[in-house]
Symmetry: C2
Subunit: 386 residues, 2 copies
Amino acid sequence: MRGVSIVGIGSTPFGRLEAEEDIVKLAVDACSDAIRDSGIKYSSIQALYLGNFVGERLAAQGALASVVGGRLGILGIPGTKVEGACASGGIAIREGFITVASGLYDFVLVVGVEKMSNMPIGDITAALATAGDEKYEMRTGLTFPGAFAMIMEEHMRSYGTSREQVAQVSIKNHQNGLNNPKAQFRRATNMDEVINSRFIAEPIRLFDCPPISDGAAAAILCPTELARDLPGKSVQILGSGHSTGPSTLTQMPDLTTFSASIQAAQQAYDMAGISAADVDVAEVHDCFTIAEIIATEDLGFFRKGEGGQAVESGETALDGLYPVNPSGGLIAKGHPVGATGLAQIYELVTQLRGTAVNQIAHPDIALAHNLGGAGAVATVHVLGRR
Amino acid sequence: MRGVSIVGIGSTPFGRLEAEEDIVKLAVDACSDAIRDSGIKYSSIQALYLGNFVGERLAAQGALASVVGGRLGILGIPGTKVEGACASGGIAIREGFITVASGLYDFVLVVGVEKMSNMPIGDITAALATAGDEKYEMRTGLTFPGAFAMIMEEHMRSYGTSREQVAQVSIKNHQNGLNNPKAQFRRATNMDEVINSRFIAEPIRLFDCPPISDGAAAAILCPTELARDLPGKSVQILGSGHSTGPSTLTQMPDLTTFSASIQAAQQAYDMAGISAADVDVAEVHDCFTIAEIIATEDLGFFRKGEGGQAVESGETALDGLYPVNPSGGLIAKGHPVGATGLAQIYELVTQLRGTAVNQIAHPDIALAHNLGGAGAVATVHVLGRR
């Protein structure tokens, strides 16, 4: 396996974009930015992996890899959409990484995209619920806010995690999003506002949730040996992990941990030859506030049950031991589902280049954690300066 | 790159199955058959690639790779849904092939599935139309029967292909499906019935079209060096090709040929070190009768414009020079969209094992051609006895 580097990144702003910003244009904009950033020619791209969750349903657009390739003018190459619910973007990076590492392709374009905001909220909720097991769980009427409400209850009950500790995730991530020009929400919040916002699924409140978002993010991958000849500052993918876990809550032996995250992290740490303690900055999948706390435990930043105290004591703040979601995370930056995994990469590459909006001091190792469903699938990527 | 073999195959029957045969159960049944056929243990499987087009929309089920993995009891491995419209199954094989050939995994399960029949026909047509470019073409009301109607008109105008020649594809494929226990239609048809069946999109009539189908098919891939230790008769993947073409008719310089098919075939032929003349039996993507004629030209079996005469003179019959769609093809076997690429592999493995229902005499080389949209994406795989 060859070393693989990220040599270009691109991202649209995230938010509720105009109807004429169709899903294909969002992806094309992010791809064009990434290609320009890399300094390679369009004709150098040998394959396209596109992460998207429910384009067929929310944007009436399937076969996105070839439609996006066509609008970019890079037909005649293999184009593949990959899907793993909210981890679709992370899977796109994973597949691109595999094909470059194996020597099959030199230059691969990976992109994630979702266009959600033009549909009625009921349709969006129903589309997102397809990430669960329809026959054995979602048919009962369960939604993902409902699933994570049970998970939050269980974490509070098992570990004494307080309502206020969970709320700190929202406060921190809103604060981080404040200066991020790509973020959907650029406004601060406070304890009073979070814990008094309206219930979505008790105990989860509005400010515990990410918004409905449109957006796309992209990256160019190539062998590390070729990255050195390109003009930009490249970042190496030191480790890649991808695993699956139960798709129903009833199959989970413990609602407060996701086995897929633990396994994907272990694979990525092993490949990179590092441990959690080496991570300088992380973007993790805060699809709800409680999910960030669980992620910081599953990834090994904190011991099981101590994620709530950690965020409360500032250990995941920009100047903490493990700065988490300096971009604002899904909660403030927005969560266009298929784009999220690539948006994490976008933020972390800027961190390792030293050009991030909320720049962490001299990071060497960065980690991206992308989760699908309530732990049904996870990817973890470890990046390093190179 | 290592040699890759297919060591197990499985398939459900294709047809309009009962509502309780949910999409996940279909995939699980095909996977279980393939695993049993291979003689490997469930715990040997290191990755799962699942081809599906519109499960989120027609079956309310996304994240299918992890949901199917969970019901099979093989969690804790990377699971990825891949999508390229009607070529989703072919792409699943392609991705499995890449990861085994590169040495990343030894045993990979690939499966294709679609569950379509429980929805109203208008919803199905709209879901299938997402394979085209929504903004620049499908929004006008174009459907795939409409697109292939223009393609058929143009082939008849350009090359003098007759209505009767096109109908011969339907007659041949229905005849081939007659004895196939997996086929949706097991009844013969005749010229009179085909050319007098009702119009779907003039000049395309009902008997020029595949049915709405439910079904799944699966295969187990492993390195050729490990295949020799397994009990079953294995088949080697000698070549793999995957390419993309225009997603709109307006971008096609010529409506009677699909550049993605030509490019994917050339890649597969080059990798296998063969030419079209070496192919002994083929399963091609007859999503409409005219599509089979175009495929036999694009794959190099016949010169451009001569595909109509070839089927009329019996060159694609079971005893012809290039037997095409001995399974009955999409038209008689059925077309559960995401499953089709794997169903082609299922048929061809039985042909190379010498156990097919419509067995061709001593085939050495078999070819599978899977198409998405009106040429937006294509995969070609060349299989050989080994």
